[in-house]
Symmetry: D2
Subunit: 274 residues, 4 copies
Amino acid sequence: MRILFFGDVVGRAGRDAVIAHMPTLRDRLDPDLTVVNGENAAGGYGVTVKIADEFFAAGIDVVTLGNHTWDQKDLVGTIDQQPRIVRPVNYPEGTPGRGFVLLQARGGRKVLVVNALLRLFMEPMDDPFAAVDRVLKAHRLGAGGVDAILIDIHGEATSEKMIMGHFCDGRASLVVGTHSHVPTADHTILPKGTAYQTDAGMCGDYDSAIGMKKEVAMAKMVRKLPTERLSPAEGEGTVCGCYVETDDRTGLALRIEPVRIGGRLSQSVPERRQ
Amino acid sequence: MRILFFGDVVGRAGRDAVIAHMPTLRDRLDPDLTVVNGENAAGGYGVTVKIADEFFAAGIDVVTLGNHTWDQKDLVGTIDQQPRIVRPVNYPEGTPGRGFVLLQARGGRKVLVVNALLRLFMEPMDDPFAAVDRVLKAHRLGAGGVDAILIDIHGEATSEKMIMGHFCDGRASLVVGTHSHVPTADHTILPKGTAYQTDAGMCGDYDSAIGMKKEVAMAKMVRKLPTERLSPAEGEGTVCGCYVETDDRTGLALRIEPVRIGGRLSQSVPERRQ
Amino acid sequence: MRILFFGDVVGRAGRDAVIAHMPTLRDRLDPDLTVVNGENAAGGYGVTVKIADEFFAAGIDVVTLGNHTWDQKDLVGTIDQQPRIVRPVNYPEGTPGRGFVLLQARGGRKVLVVNALLRLFMEPMDDPFAAVDRVLKAHRLGAGGVDAILIDIHGEATSEKMIMGHFCDGRASLVVGTHSHVPTADHTILPKGTAYQTDAGMCGDYDSAIGMKKEVAMAKMVRKLPTERLSPAEGEGTVCGCYVETDDRTGLALRIEPVRIGGRLSQSVPERRQ
Amino acid sequence: MRILFFGDVVGRAGRDAVIAHMPTLRDRLDPDLTVVNGENAAGGYGVTVKIADEFFAAGIDVVTLGNHTWDQKDLVGTIDQQPRIVRPVNYPEGTPGRGFVLLQARGGRKVLVVNALLRLFMEPMDDPFAAVDRVLKAHRLGAGGVDAILIDIHGEATSEKMIMGHFCDGRASLVVGTHSHVPTADHTILPKGTAYQTDAGMCGDYDSAIGMKKEVAMAKMVRKLPTERLSPAEGEGTVCGCYVETDDRTGLALRIEPVRIGGRLSQSVPERRQ
Ligand SMILES: [Fe+2]
Ligand SMILES: [Fe+2]
Ligand SMILES: [Fe+2]
Ligand SMILES: [Fe+2]
Ligand SMILES: [Fe+2]
Ligand SMILES: [Fe+2]
Ligand SMILES: [Fe+2]
Ligand SMILES: [Fe+2]
């Protein structure tokens, strides 16, 4: 299978970049599953159903979230009707929405997408290791089970992300980090066959502070005086993420390549081999 | 000028990788300044003078540090005799050692190396923006001033690192992050001419938890029971960092390329153009 | 019923104070249940079975713990044989020991003691609200159920502690905080009948930094250079905690009085009214 | 001299309590200096000049602040005209307002009031120890110098507060904590003569979560879903703080007594002895 993943979409610059580059990427890579983390898509703060629908119309299959899940308060009441919007799996019991989704892909194949919030330097949350473990025990990767498993681990600390990668190694097709808004260059296949990248990077304008206007963010941090509200930077966005090809017999990864298209970063456009 | 920088060296795997690849890199790139962050070189915890001397013997000019500066307690008493070991500039007044060093490079050129500790999700420390600003105001980059300025910003949060990059933009040759132990793929030249990379990545074994043995780190984080002390992973290390070429008239950057050699990561070996 | 609770015992000064004052307090108050938080009893770091046995010999019924539970590594292997040592209830599944204990008190009455770790400014941990809720739903306070319920909430933030107090209000006899090592003066009966105190205070020498030697703690914090290991201050300890009387029909609290005896703090010695 | 200090005033309940009890307290104690921490006086978020003026009209001499200093943005532009509003001394250089004030008290005596932000579990800030040290070195307590020195240390961690107490011991009349919104029962005179209390407690409604509506705070913390904005609880407030008498020759403390009047907490009304 071919899997395409994009990291946190930040504001209009990020949305425009994703939607502009999707046609070419679909032509080029013909992905069986495309997932985007949308937690900052609505002006930097959460996602709306309208924006999610634009992603779906562009060919994206699933929108994942993170610590900004409820920034758009309307989502609390509507997420239960949104089978393809996935919020963190380790929210408290009784939280609206779902923490993972099992989809039908082409050719009757099944793909599982999970979203989890990590905890180091973040808000208190239930154990993401236990939560992911429960999902993985209920959905075995490979023949007779699920054909591909993608886990979006939304977290700050590189240590926790690498540990989660090893924790899932051999049980998922791809474990990919989000939230830092900077792509890492450590895409790799872990020893037991899971593709891994510490962070996919954001989709947004990199002449910024993690996608937000740099002047405002700098004033806030350096002077510690009130500023206008942080809003997304408006220069050309870069689409950031990764592309993975899996072995159809095992569901494990054969390759992982970084995706960086448009905007200010060095470009990386993967080619399809399968 | 040509500048070579390596991120946090973790244990023997990291030291061996740096020392093994230095001869080739010197041949290939002929750097005017080579700097390595050594804060985890001694078994993961700080650096010793002996290890620093091995780096110097291999052609490294300056060793920078970070939050692990004093893990090897002997350094407190000896760092004042070590002009080429630089500890964070924003430690309390009266701290032994120096926070920056002005070196004589080839051809009578002057290079400044600064080390600063950032603060988000880290130990309380004096304002790194004010501290770096003081150093930059006392050492102007470009004709009649300093020929190259390298600032190693040791921090956790990508937002703070990007803000520091913009804060120094136009006033330094290179602002490069350390501490996350994962290389980022956002190497770029900022709008006013400063080369920037959110994190250089560690020099060490990437089949690990940020360079330390993955089984121990996982047990500690997942089970929350006592474990043996974390120690460095022992597989083949990757040398991680970046290579920068500057404009001799302005001291600003013309190019920045990632360096990733050996070990498990995708390889990136820059070429010299100047 | 009459309940006596002491906060974190810190080192020898704290142990000596508890053991010296227990005989008088037993005479004076004749408690049905006496509980002490022992997480710093062994030189400031955890508790040993030997020390717990000294507490039991002095008439203490239960020893609770906190974030220092496993500082004495031997306890991991022995805690399962210790029915009266209670570790935090919201540790990961599979953790040795128990998070609460149901005891037989005088006259066939049943008392429940729970220990929970809060999360604000502390290590990531599973939801203490959900964990405590499960215990309280399985053990109803009052006629036909449990005669008294004591919950030791071990946490940093006063907000989280007050919220936990209200969360348990009407369902527990006493919710009392530990971990800050400073007694609060807000002992009160909440609107639905639960006695509450944000922090019981430590049992130890208050001419210190939360029970540890002040010179060492100050050097560490102010100079940020290596120091000797923090160890408990050795002046006369104050026994700190609270005394609660409950209504035998409901299990709810009728009174709560602070306990501060010996050492440097203002003295508060409750009287028995029931 | 006689000094009266009140902790963080939270919303209308806190303001009403302070203003209602001031006449009696002035009659009873005839203070030479009265200081209140006003950082939550305006609906829980900062202070306005209008509210500060109400405090001054009630006989309060100085209003101190904390991490909520700029919640009312207007204060940024007006604080320079407010000699008796004191913001934290360790804000970045160039911050409007002042971090301490030297006042003329009755009989030509001089009193110094300092406000400092601590750092553990709080926003990054410059070293409060260095900042307070500079102020204390410029203003010596005792004969020929300043007659009384009050330092409001605004912080979360009890350890840092106790260390700051010892750091100032013998150099200040009173070191008193704020920010936790819960009064501590550890008021004491430190070995070298400085009165100390880890936290003065808030002035506000204690049937709450640190002064804010308990239902909203609980929903936010337990369910992690969006709620209405946190606003102050509206029940009867308790005035919380401490009363100190100093030795006129040395400026050091002779007594410290807690103040808790009105509302739900146990009452403590000091008497004047001098
Ligand atoms: Fe994000
Ligand atoms: Fe996020
Ligand atoms: Fe490091
Ligand atoms: Fe570090
Ligand atoms: Fe403790
Ligand atoms: Fe503790
Ligand atoms: Fe406050
Ligand atoms: Fe505060």
